[in-house]
């Protein structure tokens, strides 16, 4: 049996193939477990990427940076500056110069800005349940428990508004349908 190329499988996983190629690949997948695993591998990698790339750079001091950005945004609005186009290089210097020269003003405005009553984004109150690329999870302040999918593909995940989550798959080792379930009270 000949198999689709890796690029075709990678694009099939993300839904970018033209319809006529998609149809051919899907037909092949119906009979080829190896390629199905490949496609699931790309989907898992994409899920991992989405999950991880949505986070801050490692070791980055967000609170400090956010305070600085908020202060600078306020400065920019107050100064009526519109930073765009070819002036970009100049405007970057302008930020630094403004910070150096108007340091007292920045401190005063920044202090005022920081102490304004900002509506803070409320945090999730633990515990909660979540689905991840590896399985379904209970998260609490004391720790977390994940029931793993063990590399099974595909996995059907469903949530319940009572605070529960279920993952269903065929366990490759036992060959049986297995349903993992987590819930919080």
């Amino acid at each position: 049996m000949s198999h689709p190329q890796a690029t075709a499988l990678a694009l099939f996983a993300g839904g970018e193939l033209p319809w006529w190629m998609r149809w051919r690949v899907r037909w092949h997948l119906g009979a080829c477990e190896t390629c199905r695993r490949e496609v699931e591998g790309y989907r898992r990698a994409a899920a991992w990427f989405r999950e991880t790339a949505a986070e801050l750079p490692p070791g980055f001091d967000w609170e400090r940076a956010a305070a600085e950005m908020r202060a600078n945004i306020q400065l920019g609005l107050e100064a009526g500056e519109c930073v765009s186009g070819p002036e970009r290089a100049v405007s970057r210097i302008r930020w630094r110069v403004a910070a150096a020269v108007a340091s007292i003003a920045v401190v005063v405005l920044g202090g005022w800005w920081l102490h304004m009553p900002h509506p803070r984004a409320p945090r999730f109150e633990a515990p909660l349940v979540a689905s991840t690329s590896e399985g379904i999870q209970i998260r609490e302040p004391e720790g977390s428990l994940t029931l793993l999918n063990s590399g099974a593909v595909p996995v059907m995940v469903s949530a319940s508004a009572e605070g529960a989550m279920t993952a269903r798959f065929i366990d490759e080792e036992t060959g049986l349908v297995t349903v993992n379930h987590v819930s919080v009270e």
Binding site: F49, R50, R92
Partner: protein, 172 residues
């Protein structure tokens, strides 16, 4: 009225600052540039107060401004070539809430991601970010990167293949 407008601005910034910063950071790959560009995007957005009234539309509209700002910057830095962009970008997913202990595991993943993205070419990284992170259709990614749909598919596929290979090596 002035207090109301200030409150609206303040809430708008609080709700969107982090995700816009991450969106831009993933495109330009540099923290300092991302900070400056984030400020720039917000200032552009906040100078049109009328756009803030509908929170859903405002969030989408801000994402579009952020994408355009980052692409303009990369173009001027001669790191990539683009045409003017048009359509909306999807807002970026916020990081999930997690227990404190999991932050320890997360930092390892984030470091790995940084290394992984460096393996990609700039085009591959942009295609992957615009497609898989911002959820733009492939045709739209092609327009923003000023290349054909076939070329952008090639970038996306190569990026996914390289990324997956790295991930599998890490998990061994």
């Amino acid at each position: 009225m002035v207090a109301e407008a200030a409150e609206r601005r303040s809430r708008f910034i609080a709700e969107n600052l982090r995700r816009i910063f991450i969106q831009i950071y993933r495109m330009v790959g540099n923290v300092d540039d991302a900070q400056d560009l984030t400020q720039e995007a917000f200032i552009k957005a906040l100078q049109r107060e009328d756009q803030l009234k509908d929170p859903d539309k405002a969030a989408h509209w801000l994402s579009r401004i952020a994408t355009n700002t980052a692409i303009d910057f990369l173009r001027r830095s001669s790191r990539a070539e683009f045409l003017e962009v048009e359509a909306l970008a999807e807002p970026l997913a916020s990081p999930a809430e997690e227990s404190p202990e999991e932050l320890l595991l997360r930092s390892e993943r984030r470091l790995f991601l940084e290394e992984g993205l460096r393996v990609l070419t700039e085009r591959e990284r942009l295609a992957l970010v615009l497609r898989d992170l911002e959820g733009l259709p492939a045709a739209e990614v092609a327009r923003r990167l000023n290349c054909s749909k076939a070329t952008v598919r090639s970038h996306i596929a190569n990026a996914r293949i390289k990324f997956r290979q790295l991930l599998e090596r890490r998990n061994r």
